[in-house]
């Protein structure tokens, strides 16, 4: 009886996760082997790997994959850079009201992808957007630009909104890591005559390396799978210029009503995520347990 206790307590969690996360996940692959149009759900012939063959020849697929790479890499780069700067700033100063300051600066985390998207769509609006107004006043632009409706800028506009949202995440994670460095290490470095530059590279950097690697990997997976923001901001347009793979999966289901192909795209998305996850777990184990759980 006693021995069964933990399993009984965990049973609801196991059942729900199995039924509504793992079972559907498993059926995605089976779905991808069928032709499944939502409008015709009783007629779903088995087509083998046809969906995948089609995918390899689908230029929108390759474009969305490339867009995903840009979306993840550029967003991450700036989120990390700015987040690390913010964490260092917060860590190096003490002032009255720091708690409130922290709460305010971290607040974007509470804003949903959907709200971020509409706020930034309005800021970047091509006719009455604030960004246009500021750039023109500063003399950086001659005339208004429709950032969301031009092929060259649509994806980067979404990246900008993503950066705004994600800096917080990095700042919180890295700030926690910085706070955990024992002050004695800096005192020792100081005693040995290290300059601020040297103590940054010899003390700070090695001590937060684990946190950095883990944060970046986690965030990469998460951003790669995140579709809401772009969907609301640009709908993936114009002409697929800002459509990422995650968004393509959603749109094939929601607009195209083509469940079979959406499932095949979903499998592709999952494979990439799994590869990331494998790297993530390897790295966290490499750095030791305390990092992950």
């Amino acid at each position: 009886m006693k021995k069964a206790d933990p399993y009984l307590l965990l049973a609801p969690a196991y059942l729900l996760i199995a039924g509504f996360l793992f079972y559907p996940m498993a059926t995605v692959f089976l779905l991808s082997l069928r032709e499944y149009q939502l409008m015709d759900p009783l007629n779903t012939p088995f087509v083998g790997l046809d969906q995948y063959a089609f995918m390899l020849g689908d230029e929108y697929f390759w474009r969305s994959l490339w867009n995903s790479v840009v979306w993840v890499v550029v967003s991450l780069f700036f989120q990390f850079l700015l987040g690390f700067c913010l964490a260092l700033l917060l860590n190096s100063t003490r002032f009255r009201g720091r708690g409130i300051f922290q709460a305010v600066v971290f607040a974007p985390w509470a804003v949903s992808g959907f709200l971020i998207a509409i706020i930034w769509a309005w800021l970047l609006n091509g006719e009455f957007g604030l960004v246009n107004d500021l750039l023109i006043r500063a003399g950086l632009l001659d005339q208004k630009v429709g950032f969301l409706s031009r092929e060259e800028t649509a994806l980067l506009a979404c990246v900008l909104a993503n950066i705004w949202f994600g800096v917080t995440f990095f700042a919180v994670m890295l700030f926690a890591a910085l706070q955990a460095i024992p002050p004695s290490l800096y005192e020792a470095a100081d005693m040995d005559g290290a300059t601020a530059w040297q103590s940054f590279w010899r003390v700070t950097a090695p001590m937060v390396k684990t946190a950095i690697v883990i944060t970046i990997l986690l965030r990469a997976i998460w951003i790669f799978n995140w579709a809401d923001l772009i969907w609301v901001m640009t709908g993936g347009g114009p002409a697929g210029a800002s459509r990422t793979l995650a968004l393509y999966v959603f749109q094939k289901a929601f607009l195209g009503l083509d469940f079979g192909y959406s499932a095949a795209l979903g499998v592709a998305l999952t494979v990439v995520s799994l590869a990331f996850t494998a790297v993530f777990l390897r790295v966290t184990r490499f750095y030791g347990d305390e990092a992950a759980i």
């Binding site: 969690a13 779905l31 305010v104 509409i118 800021l123 997976i221 998460w222 979903g266 995520s273």
Partner: protein, 277 residues
């Protein structure tokens, strides 16, 4: 303490101010827009301050749209889903914190890895499942999926909170004749109350903010949650930005109120690697 160069102080001050403006400005602009009379919104160059702040957009939102109903729907779904999440994760988190059993490591690993699952892929199979269950176009479908999506992370979170509560008190209660369930409910749960509240609110924010499942599963306007209702503003009509921003401000308020409370726990939550937007 470390001596500070005035120059260094200046750089720090400027940096902090820049981040402050960067974080606050978009939200500030949303609020300003929601208070600007319609005729001031569409002039060029822009006016940074409304000539006469007005609540007209809010009045329109309340009187001429279904947003109050969407708001109620969202509140219902998010509260019930997070209550379910909390119940399941209190039990599971307790088991993970107090027992050393075979499969514990595996459970932790599986829970952690679900956080990396591409959720957008689940939309199609879950649509089919909910259609079979006859739950499409009802709020139940959303309650179920929001509950499930939050369980792994919230269970890990509760595990952390229970691990921080000494187990001697429960043992004492059991010596005094309490059974295990009684010890959990009467001793461990009250002691871990701050953790319970934080976990509930994390689940709440997640459910409150979700858009893609809701937009896929709901068809009838009377069932729409707030994100779906607002999204329809964009896609259906020419966007009415003043009204849109008033609606957005209303949608943000509960999330911000909750955030003010949970931000202390955020570091722990984020360190678990699981908090999503």
């Amino acid at each position: 303490m470390i001596r500070m160069h005035p120059m260094r102080r200046l750089i720090q001050f400027t940096g902090l101010c820049a981040f402050f403006v960067f974080a606050v400005f978009p939200v500030y602009w949303m609020v300003v827009t929601s208070l600007t009379p319609a005729q001031d919104l569409f002039v060029w160059p822009l006016r940074y301050f409304p000539s006469a702040p007005t609540l007209e957009h809010y009045a329109e939102v309340f009187l001429r749209t279904d947003i109050p109903r969407f708001f109620t729907n969202s509140l219902t779904v998010a509260s019930l889903a997070s209550a379910c999440t909390l119940t399941v994760s209190v039990l599971g988190g307790y088991a993970l914190a107090r027992y050393r059993f075979r499969g514990r490591q595996a459970t932790l690993l599986v829970f952690l890895s679900t956080q990396m699952m591409p959720v957008v892929v689940l939309i199609v199979p879950l649509f089919i499942i909910f259609r079979m269950l006859g739950l499409l176009d009802t709020l139940y479908s959303l309650m179920i999926i929001y509950t499930v999506l939050n369980i792994p992370f919230c269970t890990l979170m509760m595990q952390g909170f229970f691990a921080g509560v000494p187990s001697e008190l429960e043992e004492a209660a059991m010596v005094d004749g309490c059974n295990r369930m009684g010890a959990i409910l009467r001793v461990a749960v009250p002691l871990a109350r701050p953790g319970l509240i934080a976990t509930f609110l994390f689940a709440f924010i997640g459910a409150w903010n979700e858009l893609l499942f809701a937009v896929m599963f709901l068809n009838t306007e009377s069932t729409f949650t707030l994100p779906v209702g607002l999204y329809n503003f964009i896609s259906k009509y020419d966007v009415h930005w003043g009204r849109m921003m008033a609606g957005a401000t209303l949608a943000l308020l509960p999330a911000l109120a909750v955030f003010a409370f949970v931000q202390r726990y955020m570091v722990r939550g984020l360190a678990l690697g699981a908090v999503k937007g």
